[in-house]
């Protein structure tokens, strides 16, 4: 789900950067209150572990394929939402810088799509209410804890991944990048991520259940006999919260995806297009014809043109500009190639001289 730079318009990327920056600021402020420095090494080691853990292939029984771990849910269950968010931001930054997984400009959007939903939405709306609820209380403390962890991780992964996938579609469409109608794009992305979310949730819950059985005190909001973490929400409250979450997410998504796709599509692409040309201050019709430099070039051109009066069949004036654009582009590309080859030549010479 890592977005590349090319999929975002600068305005959308900047907006997402702003949103993520505000969340980082709030998290840092919140963390300073509770001993951030003491938590730092744990955060670093855990995020390095999640990073490496995401590369492990887990066999999905009955199929030939394999699944991976969901970072956001796991980090917020271990470290809390603020520390989990910062850790995810760091993981995404390293993935972007060293592994080209997601672009530098798209980092803000990626942090939002994967870290914000995974950590804050996953924690406050799912993990915390479920873990503190009296759900499964008839099963005994240990079994109830296990069941709650599985429920919270699976639901958490599914819902946060759905939100993330929806954001990817929204951001790409608002950037005016794809011709794919909004409704179709959503229709492709959401079901895929439903399956991924389920698998990721199960794997994450397996790891968290293991931790719960060995060292329950490492997990957030787990009832270890501590009065502060005692069950706070009744079954009814938990179910109410869950119902609201499901209604908002499910209802919101289906409303946007299906109620009036054409209208939405029109407004999105229409606005995006309008914004685009406005932002650039350019008029495509006028492109490259009326500038002062073009006139100077025009006078030189008569003397230098090696392809005078050359035009393609049916070409109008716009296509004419296009042709010169193409010729110019080819020249730039040729120059780039020459520079590369020249660099390679000198490097080889240097290596030969050194050895």
């Amino acid at each position: 789900m890592h977005m590349a730079d090319a999929l975002l318009a600068p305005a959308v990327a900047a907006t997402m950067y702003a949103a993520s920056t505000v969340t980082v600021g709030a998290s840092v402020k919140q963390l300073r209150k509770d001993e951030a420095t003491a938590k730092l090494p744990t955060m670093a080691v855990t995020s390095a572990l999640v990073f490496a853990g995401q590369m492990i292939n887990y066999t999905i029984p009955g199929t030939g394929s394999s699944g991976h771990l969901c970072g956001g849910m796991m980090l917020s269950a271990l470290l809390g939402p603020q520390a989990g968010f910062l850790s995810m931001v760091v993981i995404l930054t390293i993935q972007c810088l060293f592994f080209a997984d997601g672009g530098l400009l798209a980092l803000g959007a990626n942090c939002w799509n994967m870290a914000f939903y995974g950590c804050f939405v996953g924690y406050y709306l799912l993990w915390k209410p479920i873990m503190r609820s009296k759900l499964f209380s008839k099963m005994g403390t240990k079994a109830a804890g296990r069941s709650k962890i599985i429920l919270a991780s699976v639901l958490g992964c599914i819902i946060t991944l759905q939100l993330g996938a929806f954001s990817v579609v929204l951001e790409t469409s608002l950037s005016g990048i794809t011709e794919l109608p909004f409704g179709t794009f959503v229709g492709i992305m959401q079901p895929i991520h439903l399956a991924i979310g389920l698998i990721e949730g199960l794997i994450t819950s397996a790891v968290l259940v293991f931790v719960y059985e060995a060292r329950p005190e490492l997990l957030m909001d787990v009832n270890t006999g501590d009065a502060a973490v005692q069950s706070k929400y009744s079954l009814k409250t938990t179910l109410m919260i869950l119902a609201v979450v499901v209604a908002v997410v499910g209802g919101g998504l289906s409303l946007v995806a299906s109620s009036n796709p054409d209208g939405l599509e029109w407004s999105m692409f229409g606005n995006a297009e309008a914004g685009y040309s406005e932002n650039m201050g350019l008029d495509e019709e006028d492109y490259g014809i009326s500038s002062g430099a073009a006139e100077v070039a025009g006078s030189i051109q008569e003397k230098t043109a090696f392809l005078p009066d050359y035009a393609f069949a049916n070409s109008d004036s716009a296509a004419g500009t296009t042709v010169s654009g193409l010729v110019g582009s080819a020249m730039v590309a040729g120059a780039a190639l020459l520079i590369c080859m020249g660099g390679g030549f000198f490097r080889k010479k240097k290596i030969a001289a050194n050895s």
Binding site: A4, Y58, T93, F98, G176, V207, V323, G325, S329
Partner: protein, 267 residues
């Protein structure tokens, strides 16, 4: 090579590149960071049909690769991560946008094809620029630059520590996976019975290790922030580099350079 050892070798390779020396490596990290961001913003801001305008932007990474003494081909391998997603989004454009954009003899080039090519070029160019940044700037210099931009110290310290530990963890997980594979021949991944315990075991050990690490950092006088002593102030060369680059990007964005160049030769 599996994913884990692949990641390990990629990290090592990037470290080695960043540790070498060239005029680009010697530039101030903050200047490089700003120029890279400006470059990517300029690249993605090109309109979706303006691929002839976008072509000029290739010159910046190409020239810088040469100045940094790094072969351009080193970054191509990373394209495998970027291109699939960009292609997945871009490949539908030719089918959904059949408006003719230009006529080349008998061949009609549609707007969809042009926007797809532009999208791919944007993806490749921005990848090249961020690759260059990290291939010429060591992680601690980059963090020092981020500190200068008032990024909270907790984030930069976390970035440095995590970066340090990723190597360790990758090695650990790689050893564990190898051992697991040897005990479970013919199996593709981790079996469901070990889903929890496999990573869980490592997690528990690492959490304890982190506590010890923190204790030892405290004993060495750690007070919540690393200090970057060896970052010199920004020299004139850095400022000139930044100004020249930003100006060049602005010119490339606002003046249709390739069209003007082409006009010289086409009537």
């Amino acid at each position: 090579m599996d994913k884990l050892s692949q990641a390990q070798s990629e990290l090592r390779e990037m470290d080695a590149l960043a540790a070498s020396d060239s005029p680009v490596h010697r530039l101030h990290p903050l200047c490089k960071l700003l120029v890279t961001v400006c470059y990517i913003v300029t690249v993605v801001s090109f309109p979706k049909y303006d691929f002839t305008g976008l072509v000029v932007m290739v010159l910046y990474p190409i020239l810088l690769f040469q100045a940094a003494d790094i072969p351009v081909s080193t970054c191509f391998y990373k394209l495998r991560v970027v291109l699939p997603l960009v292609c997945a989004v871009g490949l539908v454009n030719p089918f959904l946008d059949p408006t003719p954009w230009m006529q080349l003899g008998n061949l009609t080039v549609t707007g969809g094809v042009v926007s797809m090519v532009t999208l791919m070029m944007k993806g490749i160019f921005s990848l090249m620029a961020s690759f260059l940044l990290i291939a010429t700037t060591p992680m601690d210099s980059l963090c020092a630059a981020l500190r200068k931009l008032h990024v909270p110290s907790i984030l930069t310290t976390l970035l440095l520590l995590t970066y340090r530990y990723i190597g360790v963890m990758l090695e650990q997980v790689s050893v564990m996976t190898e051992a697991y594979k040897l005990r479970a021949p013919g199996q593709k991944g981790i079996h469901i019975s070990a889903w929890g315990s496999f990573l869980g075991q490592l997690l528990l050990r690492s959490m304890d290790r982190a506590q010890e690490l923190y204790d030892s950092m405290l004993l060495r006088g750690f007070q919540g922030e690393f200090f970057y002593a060896d970052v010199p102030p920004c020299k004139a060369s850095g400022i000139v580099y930044t100004l020249v680059c930003v100006l060049a990007f602005a010119v490339a964005r606002l003046v249709p350079v390739t069209s003007l160049l082409g006009n010289l030769f086409v009537g």
